[in-house]
Symmetry: C2
């Protein structure tokens, strides 16, 4: 039986976050000690590691809830789980594309600035005047 602090140390998930996940229904409400403190077992450790792992991959809580529900039906086909991952991959790629555009625009703006006065500063001027931009943003 682990305390919430033990669970936290073993999974790297902070104590308040564990309580938050309980509130969100990602982990079942833990058993309690006589003094009302949460007590965990091995399967809670696994569940929490699963959640942590999914969060690290950037999945949001509703998606994780769905994956947990799916994982409890081993007989079903896994197309739904695959779709969640694939949708997320698409979203990740879109974010990368957007950020790359920002990266290029920022590089361009910065490299155009000669570092003299604000009056001539290309950074400020580019922000003031959309016509100095490349691309459609």
């Amino acid at each position: 039986m682990l305390s919430i602090g033990d669970l936290s140390k073993r999974t790297g998930v902070k104590v308040p976050t564990i309580r938050y996940y309980e509130q969100m229904g990602l982990i079942e409400a833990a058993e309690r000690s006589e003094g009302n403190q949460r007590r965990y077992e091995r399967n809670d450790l696994e569940r929490l590691a699963f959640i942590r792992h999914a969060r690290d991959l950037g999945l949001d809580i509703p998606a994780i809830r769905e994956l947990i529900a799916l994982s409890q039906h081993p007989d079903l086909p896994c197309v739904n789980a695959d779709r969640i991952a694939a949708d997320h991959l698409v979203a990740v790629r879109e974010k990368i594309e957007k950020l790359k555009k920002l990266e290029h625009e920022l590089e361009r703006i910065i490299s155009h600035c000669d570092g003299h006065s604000i009056e001539d500063c290309y950074v400020i001027r580019a922000l003031s005047d959309h016509g100095l931009c490349e691309g459609e943003h």
Copy 2:
């Protein structure tokens, strides 16, 4: 003199967002009509376009506040403005790197799954077992 709706249409910034920027101190409190409605002029249009542009580039509100303050001192050197942009560029690049790692991990997980049952699903298994991962996340 423009109403808040006119200003919104011309800049593409939504009406509640304009009021929010006023509250955050990015734009000055507008003059009011007799009936207490906001009335804007050309320089408000420019200011708001500046803000919108900076937001599109991903700058946060404190950074924009600083850029606005700087832009009102044309005689100062522009190293501070350049630094804000450069810092942001670093942050953007870091985000891109993180997302690329996620992208590769998701690609790998998805490609390993044969699409049969949840029991064998590589997506679910990879989440359950960190040992199946590549990289350090």
